[in-house]
């Protein structure tokens, strides 16, 4: 999967009217909450086999940080 595909999926997971970009600060997304984090945990597991917990989001600030959580499975 490349970054653009992930950004499209993220837009759907967060149900955003506006597209997501890599440098976006997640704290500025009103859609970024515990439920969307729960959805992202399910998405990462289903798509990449990466198992995350809520703790993994503690140091996440930007969309780029989310890409990092996929452990190199999202290419350019």
């Amino acid at each position: 999967m490349n970054k653009q595909q992930f950004l499209n999926d993220l837009e759907d997971i967060l149900q955003r009217e506006e597209p997501c970009t890599e440098n976006d600060n997640l704290d500025e997304y009103e859609e970024w909450d515990s439920l969307s984090q729960m959805s992202l945990i399910a998405y990462m597991d289903r798509t990449f086999g990466v198992k995350l917990g809520f703790d993994n989001f503690e140091n996440v600030k930007t969309v780029a940080d989310l890409i990092e959580l996929a452990g190199g499975k999202i290419g350019d």
Partner: protein
């Protein structure tokens, strides 16, 4: 108390070609809302438009919701692109067979769960998307059944499918509360619809209903109330309408 809607408030009503869905569609339309009525029977949907108080605000979509359940969220999105964002969803479609445990067959069990549980789940998934509904003030009502609380002989599968629906609606309601979207169920006992089987009309059964068999309007009244802003503090509930005593 007066309940009013305006034509910018659009409601999807499934199972609209007969019974509770049909009556709810007509009631919402009469109270000023725009209705997108989904049903399988084209002729009956046409009759629905003819019976409407405001035919110009009654739109029909012929569809069998079980033919491609995974694509239902995309279907709801296509309706939003066609009509605009939605204020509410009424899931009135349902099937029920009276079959004791000994007679159940797997394909029929699946079919009943597809209509009564899987399809409403995926319609709800489509509606719940922030890009599809109006946000705060939006509401869904799912028609469950008294069987989900206390089922009778022969309702092994039907009761299970409706209990599954009622249980899931509670969870959905908690997930969507943050967006201001309310989710509720109504659980009627016997209602005078084409779906009501002969067993439920029997003399023995009738003794259970002190107020008799409900008419569709008796259920629609509650559905419309739950969709309105008069019910703005009510979510994650499942209301029994059992003619005074079955449960």
């Amino acid at each position: 108390m007066e309940i009013k809607f305006d034509k910018e408030q659009r409601f999807i009503v499934t199972g609209a070609s007969s019974g509770i869905g049909e009556n709810t569609a007509l009631m919402l339309n009469k109270l000023g809302a725009t209705v997108i009525a989904i049903g399988r029977n084209k002729e009956r949907l046409q009759m629905l438009v003819e019976q409407s108080y405001s035919p110009e605000n009654m739109f029909t979509e012929q569809k069998d919701l079980t033919e491609d359940i995974p694509s239902l969220p995309q279907y709801v999105k296509s309706l939003k692109d066609k009509y605009g964002k939605f204020q509410g969803l009424v899931y009135g479609a349902g099937i029920g067979k009276v079959e004791p445990l000994q007679m159940i067959q797997y394909p029929e069990v699946i079919k009943e769960f597809e209509t009564n549980y899987f399809a409403p789940l995926f319609m709800a998934k489509g509606f719940a998307d922030r890009r599809i509904n109006n946000g705060s003030g939006s509401a869904c009502v799912f028609v469950s059944s008294i069987a989900s609380f206390c089922s009778d002989k022969g309702h092994v599968v039907y009761a299970g499918s409706k209990a599954a629906l009622s249980a899931s609606v509670k969870s959905m309601a908690k997930e969507l509360a943050k967006n201001g979207v309310r989710m509720n169920c109504v659980s009627p006992s016997a209602v005078n619809t084409p779906m009501l089987d002969e067993h439920s009309r029997s003399e023995e059964q009738m003794k259970k209903y002190p107020f008799g068999i409900a008419e569709t309007e008796d259920v629609s009244n509650l559905i419309v109330y739950l969709l309105s802003d008069k019910a703005k503090f009510i979510s994650a509930q499942n209301y029994i309408i059992d003619s005074g005593g079955v449960s």
